[in-house]
């Protein structure tokens, strides 16, 4: 199957194509081809190593957006059992850009909340490319309150470019919906584990994106603003996003350095889409451990500790 090629992978893709061409030639007719093929193979292997060894922030953004990258529904399907999806915000509609579900991880009953992108154009249109409207955030909030009421820990999967910037979204109170979620999450009397699996764009990510733990996949990003939007403000030119990305301190490593993330889950070389099964296993293990650590904590203490985490965030002078 032809793999989606990211911009920075192009040199590698070209070599691989050339190799495939050579292999199609008849080696019996031109025996010197064998040397050329093995030389090319070595070159490809070397490039493979250097290309993915230290991805730049902008390259990670591309990996985080890779169309074949595992998405919220993949994690729900592969990690959890006995899934019951819950629909709607009880006020306006059912926003498919957010998924909420009762689900069981290794015998632990949970509430799962995640941004939901589509796997293809048709799905993406239905799910608005994972960019929620207010009703999506309100659906998430309803799931949070339900989880709190019945003592279910909340596991969230963050994967959005941001809250949808549209006319109706604003009209129905995008800012209000996000703010309510922040207040709700900050004081929710049940454990909350947030996992950055892909894109973490601004307030729309934060609205389901913090709690007692923040776990980041290696190539996931989480940012105050997308690099494109940042570039369009600073340089008046969105195409200069690659220059803006390193300034924003948005990679998993940056978040660890700033004390905002608790753990990074390493991805297979080239990104999670190269070997989803290994990523599912890692996420299941890390989330399972976090659930175990938080399970016995008295709720007053849990919420106090979450407040302390939030209070400590910020670097300033006084």
């Amino acid at each position: 199957m032809a793999r989606f090629v990211m911009e920075f992978e192009r040199p590698l893709a070209e070599l691989e194509e050339k190799l495939a061409e050579l292999k199609r030639l008849d080696i019996a007719v031109t025996p010197e081809l064998a040397d050329e093929i093995s030389g090319l193979e070595a070159e490809i292997e070397k490039l493979h190593e250097t290309l993915y060894a230290a991805l730049s922030p902008w390259e990670k953004v591309q990996v985080s957006r890779h169309p074949e990258r595992p998405k919220t529904q993949d994690y729900v399907e592969m990690l959890f059992d006995d899934v019951i999806e819950l629909h709607g915000d009880r006020a306006f509609g059912d926003d498919e850009a957010i998924m909420t579900a009762l689900a069981t991880l290794d015998g632990r009953r949970c509430m799962v909340i995640g941004h939901r992108k589509g796997k293809n154009t048709k799905e993406n249109i239905k799910r608005n490319f994972g960019s929620p409207h207010p009703e999506g955030f309100r659906k998430a909030r309803r799931a949070m309150k339900l989880a709190e009421k019945f003592g279910l820990p909340v596991v969230t999967f963050i994967d959005t470019q941001g809250a949808f910037p549209g006319l109706e979204a604003e009209q129905r109170g995008q800012a209000w919906a996000i703010a309510e979620n922040l207040a709700t999450l900050a004081s929710l009397r049940t454990p909350v584990i947030a996992v950055g699996i892909g894109e973490g764009g601004s307030g729309g990510a934060l609205a389901i994106g913090f709690g007692d733990r923040l776990i980041m996949l290696e190539n996931a990003y989480y940012s105050v603003i997308t690099p494109e939007a940042c570039a369009s403000i600073i340089f008046k030119d969105a195409t200069r996003a690659p220059e803006a990305a390193p300034c924003l301190a948005m990679t998993a490593d940056d978040l660890m350095r700033l004390g905002l993330a608790d753990e990074i889950i390493r991805e297979p070389r080239g990104g999670a889409h190269r070997d989803p099964a290994s990523v599912f296993a890692s996420v299941a293990r890390v989330v399972g451990e976090a659930l175990g650590q938080l399970a016995g904590v008295p709720l007053d203490e849990l919420v106090e500790e979450r407040h302390r985490r939030l209070e400590a965030i910020g670097v300033y002078d006084e």
């Binding site: 109170g173 800012a175 900050a186 670097v315």
Partner: protein
């Protein structure tokens, strides 16, 4: 500079801040042209009427010191956390270094940070007041602003005071990256803690209130007021137009627009703001609190913001 010096410096002033689009052909500081109705106004008159156009009611943008002067009982403002300021944790440098933006903002505003907080009395009610100043990197919220807001809420809780926040902001401060985004969660958490102590929180959305400030503490208030004509919203105007490929309706996301869609309690003209807040506190702050300012007692705020 402490805010008290600010007031002193203002005593001999010739003019106050007006909209950026004030015309340059008028003698500086004495006459001002209203950007809405184009009438020429005498600055001395504007001072008397809270910087609202006498002809069309246009609300001129005002800075934090002026806002405090208009809002609190005379002589009661006592600034807090004046020494808490921004640093450059990410060594941000795209197009221009953050340190340069900070230095420029301090010079332009005369303020150490984009928010001024302090204790005050409003209509006799003890409050903690926070006012964002748009001249300081668009009133954006970074670590220092978030921390000052958090401390304002904690101070109110400790001293049994109501909180009043007046917002004018472009949103989260990009130059501090995720540290800024997380201030949204941090301030939202503090609103919740004040609420659990049963203390009132009133916000006033002034022009403009956008992005991560709207989507956190600003709209979590018990009662939300907004100034006439103030632009309020989440996403930037240009980003919405680019996304939906159409131009936006004229009154889109004004204070009046959101009042119509049920997202805020009332649009209140600036001249009535102090008495309206004081009266609201009479209701929310419980017994044993001094009555609101004279003349406020019989005013009823209707949907149209009229008496």
């Amino acid at each position: 500079m402490p805010i008290s010096d600010w007031f002193k410096a203002r005593e001999g002033r010739k003019y106050t801040t007006t909209s950026a689009d004030a015309p340059g052909d008028l003698p500086d500081g004495v006459w001002v042209k209203c950007p809405s109705c184009k009438h020429t106004l005498y600055q001395g008159d504007l001072d008397r009427v809270a910087d609202v156009c006498l002809h069309c009611g246009h609300h001129f943008d005002i800075d934090a010191p002026r806002r405090i002067e208009l809002l609190v009982d005379e002589g009661t403002f006592e600034e807090t956390e004046a020494g808490l300021t921004s640093v450059d944790p990410l060594r941000f440098n795209a197009a221009k270094p953050y340190t340069e933006s900070l230095a420029k903002a301090k010079a332009a505003s005369g303020l150490p940070e984009a928010i001024v907080t302090g204790r005050a009395l409003v209509g006799g009610h003890p409050v903690v007041l926070g006012v964002l100043d748009f001249r300081f990197i668009a009133g954006s919220m970074g670590s220092a602003v978030g921390e000052k807001i958090a401390r304002a809420f904690r101070l109110a809780k400790r001293e049994d005071r109501a909180v009043i926040m007046v917002t004018r902001s472009g949103g989260a401060r990009m130059q501090e990256g995720m540290l800024s985004l997380m201030q949204m969660a941090k301030t939202a958490a503090e609103v919740g803690r004040l609420a659990s102590a049963g203390l009132p929180y009133i916000s006033v959305l002034a022009n403009p209130t956008m992005g991560g400030v709207t989507a956190s503490f600003a709209v979590l208030a018990d009662v939300i007021f907004a100034e006439p004509g103030a632009l309020v919203g989440f996403a930037g105007q240009r980003i919405i137009e680019q996304t939906i490929h159409q131009s936006l309706p004229k009154n889109f996301r004004t204070a009046e627009y959101f009042e119509e869609y049920g997202m805020l309690d009332a649009v209140v003209p600036r001249g009535e703001l102090t008495t309206t807040i004081a009266l609201t506190l009479d209701y929310l702050a419980g017994a044993g609190v001094p009555a609101a300012a004279e003349g406020a007692a019989c005013r009823i705020v209707s949907a149209g913001g009229e008496t």
